[in-house]
């Protein structure tokens, strides 16, 4: 489903080119549960940007569901992000002025669903992540764990085949982190491909495949459990 071959990414900072990813090849099949690990600055975020279609590689080929990403326009990438990929961020990234249910509706706004249908789809998802009684709370009125559950509901609202989670438990206490992890592994059991970027060995241990990055290269790609 996700096919990276010989991906490099360089950024130009002033006069110097900085290579953040070099020659990364990676293949992800549907239904996998993967942890991407590595020290800070190893290129994890850049890899996530590319897999998440937020960025295009400098060279190499990225195929998402057999579509070559680098040839697509900004708007076509936006559609893929909207329909095919769910994002879960470390800092939750909820829109602060919106209630939980409005936040979950945001991706549906961009695929043009009318308001009534948006609500009909958002509410069951929030119920599923255990926030049935928090529908109209603003993010500031929710705990970190609750905010992350809203974010997961938002990521799932278009039923994407892939979920990208960037340090989803990084800002949470261990109990909330455990709950989030349970939700993510539960989703994986239902067939969603889940890719988690993490520092946390415990999180990595629950994934079936661990990929280690260092200095922009994959240094280890191993199956666990």
């Amino acid at each position: 489903m996700i096919e990276l071959s010989h991906i490099t990414k360089t950024y130009r900072m002033g006069d110097v080119d900085i290579t953040v990813l070099s020659d990364v090849s990676l293949s992800v099949s549907p239904g996998e549960l993967i942890a991407i690990m590595g020290p800070s600055g190893s290129g994890k975020s850049t890899l996530m940007n590319i897999i998440g279609c937020l960025d295009r590689p400098t060279s190499g080929v990225y195929r998402f569901k057999n579509r070559e990403i680098s040839t697509l326009s900004d708007d076509e990438l936006a559609v893929i992000r909207n329909q095919k990929i769910g994002f879960v961020f470390q800092t939750f990234n909820l829109l602060p002025r919106f209630s939980a249910v409005k936040n979950v509706e945001v991706p549906l706004i961009y695929c043009g669903l009318p308001a009534r249908l948006r609500r009909e789809r958002a509410i069951p998802l929030l119920e599923k992540v255990g926030l049935a009684d928090r529908l109209h709370h603003k993010p500031t009125e929710l705990s970190g764990g609750q905010q992350q559950r809203v974010a997961i509901a938002r990521a799932l609202v278009n039923a994407p085949p892939v979920l990208l989670a960037d340090e989803p438990t990084g800002n949470l206490d261990s109990r909330s982190g455990e709950e989030i992890l349970n939700i993510l592994t539960g989703l994986n059991k239902q067939g969603v491909t889940v890719i988690i970027v993490t520092h946390d060995q415990n999180v990595a241990a629950r994934c079936r495949r661990n990929i280690h990055l260092k200095d922009g290269r994959i240094v280890r790609d191993e199956a666990t459990a």
Binding site: N49, N82, F87, F89, T91
Partner: protein, 462 residues
Amino acid sequence: MNFLETFRVSFEAILSNKVRSGLTMLGVIIGVMAVILLVSIGEGARLYITKELTGLGTNLLIITPGKTSTSGGFHPPSAGTVRKLTYDDAQALRRRAWLLTDAVPLVFGTGRIKFGNLGRDVMMIGTTPEFQRVRNLFIDTGNFVSQSDVDSKAKVVVLGTKVKEEVFGDQNALGKVVMLSDARYRVVGVMRKKGTSLGMDLDDIVFIPVTSGQELFDTDGLFEIIASTPRAEDVDRSIAQIKDILIRRHAHKEDFTIQTQGAILSTMNTILGVLTAVLGGIAGISLLVGGIGIMNIMLVSVRERTREIGIRKALGAKNKDIMAQFMIEAMTLSGAGGVIGILLGVGLALLIPVFVDVLPTSVSAWSIIMAFTFSAAVGVFFGVYPARKAALQDPSKPYGTNNPFNRAPVLPHTVIPDLIRNPWAFQYQKWIPAGACPSRTEAGAGMTGHEVLLLIRIIQYS
């Protein structure tokens, strides 16, 4: 993404920062208000003058001695050959110009009117009975100057109401003898009250027979002849007729000028139209400044919401969705400012004449439409640049605050030495750029100086 949703998002953004939105709108409000107010004053002045000129009577032709118009080519000043207009010229016009209903000879002068020990400087007009009809000034008590008064150079005078009040008070003036510049005149009538027109008090005038006036002012000429024709279509033919008669009487020279009321009106209209346009233009500049204010605030707003833009893009917003969001925000600001400005402008324009009676105003529909269109255009014009800036933001820039994957914003390099010296006392929150995170405290909380140091290593590494 549908329009209604975009509009709601923009509206919420405006409401979430009421003070700033209000101040931004203020620029447009003042601009639109100024346009409407100043154009109303200009229009009011134009309508006022048009009304006053029309109030003089319709289809008037004013004949003055001397060729002053340049439209007929170059006329060298030839003082010796200019003939005065005479009472006989007026009589000839009256007899022979059949298109004219009246040809009223006029002499003007100023002098002192005295009765008993009361005196007053007044304007004196020497004329004929038809003057009343031509200028819409009528007698109240007694009689106006009659044709036999004119024929016999009678020493009779008709007083304006103000003159009568000042000199006679409540006394009956009819039949009394007054001194007009050392000549004795008998009061035969008092005019109806008329008021001020174009700065001239029409009640502060006395009228005497034109022939007596010529004697009093020691002249055999006239100041002007006012002719009138009943139909506007006949004005051109009347001019031809007047020229024909007068040129023959003046040794085949056109040594006089005929002005039509229409020509005077259109000249005044042109002048005041330019005045209105200039006033509107000046006000338009303030509207422009208001627009720049909107652009300024929109740029700040885009900067503040880079994070929001990044999140929205990650969730599938297309460039045009983001563009629309910020465009509508700018247009709502300018549009709402425009509407409030119109209400205030129209309100003030209607209020001014109530308190300041020398300043007539007229609110015209075109000034309202123009001001609103202009303010909406200002919103579009000054909204495009910030909205484009927002739409073209790249959500994947490394360490850019708009990349939702990035958890910490860039610290300025200048603070790094402080940080290394004492990581524990370092105040992280201070350095989070506005808009980098949904809330400053949320991102800053729990982050120790050592974690910040780690972050800096990441930055240095890259």
